[in-house]
Amino acid sequence: MQPELREALVRQYAGGEITWHELRERGFDNYVQVLAGLGEFGLRPPIAPMEGPNLAARERGRAIIREALRARP
């Protein structure tokens, strides 16, 4: 893969424009390569904003983790 294309894809991923699966389709073999690209360009893995088609299921998931953490001794 051309370095310019690789950088562009990694930046798009960090910005939440494309998914890890799309990176795979474009030639990234594993997620370590993605993390390596992010590290190289001073970026970090994206965190999905709380919106979109799975919002309710994600809110349930966060509540479950919150409750589980609270219940821990």
Binding site: G39, P46, I47, G61, R62, I65
Partner: protein, 194 residues
């Protein structure tokens, strides 16, 4: 939560992120059983040169009471494809779906939490069953941060990226040295043949 409950890992990315950041133990902080589909496990441990593989094996063995590798039919297909040199893309996700279906079938009161990579969770609708909830790596870390169990989500993600870069550098250096060694051997053979 009244019935059995499991956190199912749907992809390699949360595992690589946490293991490279040296934060694998955070997966167990909520005290929820963790299920890793066999296809995800195989995919994450077969990356050549990644330190994550050995660490993941050690970590699972140290927490067998809380973590299990789930055998699936997709996993069998994955083995076959690997032997035949065919693509195994998306099999981890399919194995996670199979794992989820088996788990929900096992008990009408069973509930599951699917751990997704962040870029995937925001894009397409993943769940219709009310017994299934979702969490992304970022959501998970943020809840831990809010609970005061980790210092910073961003710090863990930065560590993973920095360590990923180190791993790739080492892998590239090893590949260079292997290539040089092969070239040297080739030159020796040619010279001996003259």
């Amino acid at each position: 939560m009244t019935g059995p409950f499991s956190l199912i890992v749907t992809d390699t990315s949360p595992l690589f992120t946490l293991v490279l950041a040296g934060s694998f133990d955070v997966l167990l902080r909520p005290g929820i059983a963790v299920s890793i589909p066999d296809a995800v496990y195989i995919e994450v441990t077969r990356v050549h040169g990644a330190p994550g593989a050995e660490q993941i094996v050690e970590w699972i063995n140290a927490h067998l009471e809380a973590v299990r590798i789930v055998p699936t039919e997709i996993g069998i297909d994955q083995q076959r494809r690997l032997e035949e040199g065919r693509s195994i893309r998306r099999l981890g996700e399919q194995a996670a779906i199979e794992t989820l279906e088996r788990f929900l079938r096992s008990d009408p009161a069973a509930e599951a939490l699917l751990l997704f990579e962040d870029s995937a969770v925001g894009k397409r609708r993943a769940v219709v069953d009310q017994r299934v909830s979702l969490i992304s790596t970022g959501d998970f870390l943020r809840e831990l941060e809010t609970a005061g169990m980790i210092q910073s989500t961003d710090h863990i993600l930065d560590l993973a990226a920095a360590q990923g870069r180190n791993v790739e550098r080492r892998r590239e250096a090893n590949e260079d040295s292997t290539t040089r060694e092969r070239l040297r051997e080739q030159l020796h053979r040619n010279r001996d043949g003259d």
